[in-house]
């Protein structure tokens, strides 16, 4: 679906030096401060307007009370076909600890540390079990690890790419604990069609919904994130990680990681789809059901990969590279 991103593809055809200038121009303060809608919908093409209209409404108008349930057409999809084919090509190497997903394997422990940070302030019963929904689970790096956590009451993991789900299911067999009923369920679907696979509404409610390294692969993050929120129990956390759109992240994640060092397969990321932490927070603030006060409602942590040392938490680095975010859905009674 390269045609859906004319700006990007045209940009990529330019010589590197020109491209860089062009990129820098897109990073003028006005764009940086522009609302997420402006950046995420500026590149839309008519071909993908189905979720667009809804998304635009949710985002742009920032209604105080969006309709509680949105009609879902089966054809509506957050899924980009190019992304699907890209990841299906990567499927076989997903679990090779030295393969193309190496950086994700190395990052995985930090995901749990971050979730712990988010939950640290909660007055939860000791030993309380949580239901996880992992969206864009890929080969299951996080989903498997979540299913092994002592606080897991079961993990549902979804991904639209059939090949990676097949890899994930295959790999889970290597750990008998994961095959115990209810521990880990993989579903090959886009998140908006989850109801077709889990018809019971209660089964679609989760304490923790995770989006690790996902939203930078989504063309229309706003409607996608709204869908994710629907699966969140009141008081639950939406937790994810992504990459900030900054010249540094272009240099590290595109130029160095993909072109020079080959740490990540070429074409894994589209820098233009990266999302700024403040854009995410602005979006979250517009969602009435989200609590976005610092600490109890909103968490953020920048992380940097240092070759030879691994991933390190670096406060403040969230604006230039990879970062985790967590936002809490308001509880039924309080806040």
């Amino acid at each position: 679906m390269a045609s859906t991103c004319p700006t990007t593809s045209r940009l990529l055809q330019l010589p590197a030096a020109v491209r860089r200038v062009a990129l820098c121009q897109t990073l003028t303060p006005t764009v940086l401060r522009a609302s997420p809608i402006a950046t995420s919908f500026g590149r839309d093409s008519p071909a993908t307007t189905i979720t667009n209209t809804q998304g635009r409404r949710d985002y742009a108008t920032a209604q105080a009370n969006p309709p509680p349930t949105r009609p879902q057409t089966p054809s509506s999809s957050s899924v980009n076909e190019t992304e699907v084919s890209h990841f299906s090509a990567l499927a076989s190497s997903w679990w090779d600890p030295h393969g193309s997903s190496r950086l994700l394997h190395l990052m995985n422990p930090l995901r749990h540390d971050f979730i712990r940070t988010c939950l640290a302030r909660e007055a939860r019963e000791p030993g309380e079990k949580l239901r996880y929904l992992d969206i864009g689970c890929g080969g299951g790096i996080f989903a498997e690890s979540a299913a092994r956590m002592r606080n897991s009451a079961g993990v549902v993991a979804v991904d639209p790419t059939p090949e990676v789900i097949a890899v994930a299911k295959q790999h889970a067999r290597q750990d008998p604990t994961l095959m115990e009923p209810g521990n880990l369920q993989y579903i090959n679907t886009a998140i908006e069609n989850l109801d077709q696979h889990l018809p019971d509404a209660a089964a679609r409610q989760f304490d923790i919904v995770t989006l690790f390294e996902v939203i930078e692969h989504i063309q229309h993050p706003a409607p996608f994130l709204r869908n994710c929120l629907d699966s969140l129990k009141p008081g639950g956390w939406l937790i994810g990680s992504t990459i900030a759109r900054h010249p540094v992240s272009w240099f590290t994640t595109k130029f160095m990681a993909e072109d020079v060092l080959g740490l990540v397969p070429r074409g894994t990321h589209d820098w233009n789809q990266y999302i700024q932490p403040h854009e995410l927070r602005d979006w979250a603030r517009q969602q009435p059901e989200l609590s976005t006060s610092d600490g109890p409602g909103w968490q953020m942590q920048g992380v940097i990969y240092v070759p030879g040392l691994g991933w390190k938490q670096v406060d403040g680095s969230e604006t230039i590279g990879n970062y985790f975010f967590g936002v809490k859905k308001r509880g039924l009674a309080s806040n």
């Binding site: 995985n108 498997e144 979540a146 299913a147 092994r148 009451a153 067999r173 008998p176 115990e180 009923p181």
Partner: protein, 533 residues
């Protein structure tokens, strides 16, 4: 199947172990084969070898909240239920002793094992005299060196020693003021005493419901990889090692621990090469009785003299007993084993007091009466010429049936881990006993591996995968290699009887004497003991 969700819910309410057994039985029922003895039982950890390294690893695992409830099994050929009473006769000490560094001691305390050690049978020592049998160069180590602020270098060298957190622990000493440990170089402890304490700790943990399944008096019949899954939906155990016992029990291990000694069958199964060489030396061990010191003192000293044939060490035990570790040529070791007890005792005195030539003469003439030889040779060899420490004790006799000899080797496995498998202690490395580090390295391994697994569990890792286990190998291999190498070099340097190496090393020892730091290494090193198992 309308009842299915209900069934599932009820199943989920069960504790994991029950759930697992239900699940495995139900899944075998649905396949064509009925539950058969050939279906291996699944364990998170199967530890082969119940020596101090393996036992302390299991105790560490079950003492940590994250790994407490892992399902573990221990396989050992020996009877692990025998109480220590067999060894309680108060003045008899086993010839298998180890000197535990303060870091090892702290680890044993952390995992709740030290309180089960019979304290009457352990002996801390507070100073160490090491001298060169050829040049007479000598160094004395006592805690003043440590407190004297030789800081940086001592710290950095001590970093290489097991229990690496030497500096941090020093600071802990200073702030917490643990009187009991203050000024202790190391603590002599019989391996048997330690093993009994660790077993008692494991029993205690079993009562708390987080125990190890003990398969003692059990040999490992075979180790193989699990079979390919029967169906497309069955769990795939083809990467899991499966241990078979003679009774037909089959244990599939998420992590198989090789704590099974220098000739580790687990290492052989994993096809991990262990490089090294034989020293062409044998270690002679024995328990000796000493004359009571003229002025009783609470301070004890360990002695080690480097002879061209190998180092000889005398390490204090309670009640004026001492543990001997004498590394020497296989020929001399054979002679020593066959000497009469009086000649043996006199030979040890000779080894500490006389010139190396006198000693060689005696050992090549085992029919001489050594005590009468000593009566004229000792006065003819003043302590000044050999640099014998002034307070060196008089050895009165040999405790019966404590003489033993074993060949000395250097071995180091090329890695400590492979998928679903990790090596601990002597299975990973065999070291010359002049260091007395065998057991300490094993305990440090145990601590590191337990820590890595706990971290893995807390982050939802499959603890059998390389991603988790490799950090154990990465943490321990380099450090162990540094200690192994340093001890090996010491051994080689001191095996030379004459010439420039001797001049160089006497200079070296003099430099040691001035640099508290390197002494720190030798101090941690000389300590004797026959290592892990």
């Amino acid at each position: 199947m309308p009842s299915r969700p209900l069934l599932l819910k009820r199943l989920l309410a069960l504790p994991p172990t029950l759930r697992r057994s239900f699940w495995s039985s139900s899944s075998t029922n649905t396949t064509t084969t009925p539950p058969s003895p050939s279906q291996p039982e699944l364990y998170d950890i199967v530890c082969v070898g119940g020596g101090p390294a393996g036992l302390s690893f299991l105790a560490a695992l079950h003492s940590h909240p994250a790994t407490r409830s892992l399902k573990t099994a221990l396989i050992d050929t020996q009877d692990l239920t025998t109480s220590r009473s067999a060894n309680d006769a108060n003045d008899a000490y086993s010839n298998r002793c180890s000197s535990l560094t303060p870091a090892s001691l702290r680890f044993l305390k952390d995992i709740g094992a030290w309180e089960h050690v019979d304290r009457r049978r352990v002996q801390p020592y507070h100073a160490m005299d090491v001298w060169d049998g050829v040049s007479g160069s000598r160094m004395h180590f006592d805690p003043m060196d440590r407190e004297g602020g030789a800081g940086g270098l001592l710290g950095s060298l001590a970093e290489m020693l097991p229990g690496s957190r030497f500096q941090a622990s020093r600071r802990k000493y200073e702030t917490a003021g643990m009187e009991e440990e203050a000024g202790v170089v190391a603590t002599m402890c019989e391996n048997m005493n330690l093993t009994a304490a660790l077993l008692q700790r494991l029993k205690e943990l079993q009562k708390e419901g987080t125990g190890v399944k003990m398969l003692d008096k059990t040999k490992v019949d075979s180790i193989q990889l699990g079979s390919a899954p029967a169906s497309d939906t069955a769990p795939d155990l083809s990467q899991w090692p499966v241990v078979t016992t003679p009774t037909g029990d089959r244990l599939a291990a998420r992590v198989l621990i090789g704590a099974d000694g220098a000739n580790s069958p687990v290492r052989t199964f994993a096809n991990i090469p262990a490089h090294g060489w034989d020293y062409n030396q044998h270690g002679v061990v024995a328990t000796l009785t000493l004359a009571p010191p003229s002025t009783p003192t609470p301070f004890h000293t360990a002695y080690q003299r480097f002879l061209p044939t190998g180092p000889i060490a005398l390490l204090p035990l309670p009640n004026n007993q001492a543990s001997l570790v004498w590394s020497t040529t296989p020929h001399h070791a054979q002679t020593l084993k066959t000497l009469s007890p009086t000649n043996f005792t006199a030979a040890i005195t000779a080894a500490f007091h006389l010139l190396p030539t006198d000693l060689t003469h005696l050992l090549t003439h085992p029919n001489l009466s050594y005590p009468s030889e000593l009566t004229w040779r000792l006065p003819a060899t003043p302590a000044k010429t050999t640099n014998l420490p002034a307070n060196f004790p008089t050895i009165t006799h040999l405790q019966e049936n404590t003489r033993a000899a074993f060949p000395l080797r250097y071995r180091h496995a090329s890695t400590y881990t492979s998928p679903h498998l990790a090596l601990l202690g002597d299975a990973a490395h065999t070291i010359h006993p002049l260091a007395g580090q065998g057991l300490n390295l094993g305990l440090a391994d145990a601590r590191a591996l337990a820590h890595v697994l706990a971290d893995g569990v807390q982050h939802g890792m499959d603890i059998g995968t390389e991603g988790c286990l490799d950090s154990y190998s990465a943490e321990r291999w380099g450090r162990n290699n540094a200690v192994l190498g340093a001890v090996d070099k010491l051994q080689k340097v001191y095996s030379v009887g004459s010439g420039p190496v001797v001049w160089g090393r006497s200079l070296g020892v003099e430099v040691f004497e001035r640099l508290g730091g390197l002494k720190g290494l030798v101090m941690g090193a000389a300590g004797g003991g026959s290592g892990g198992r």
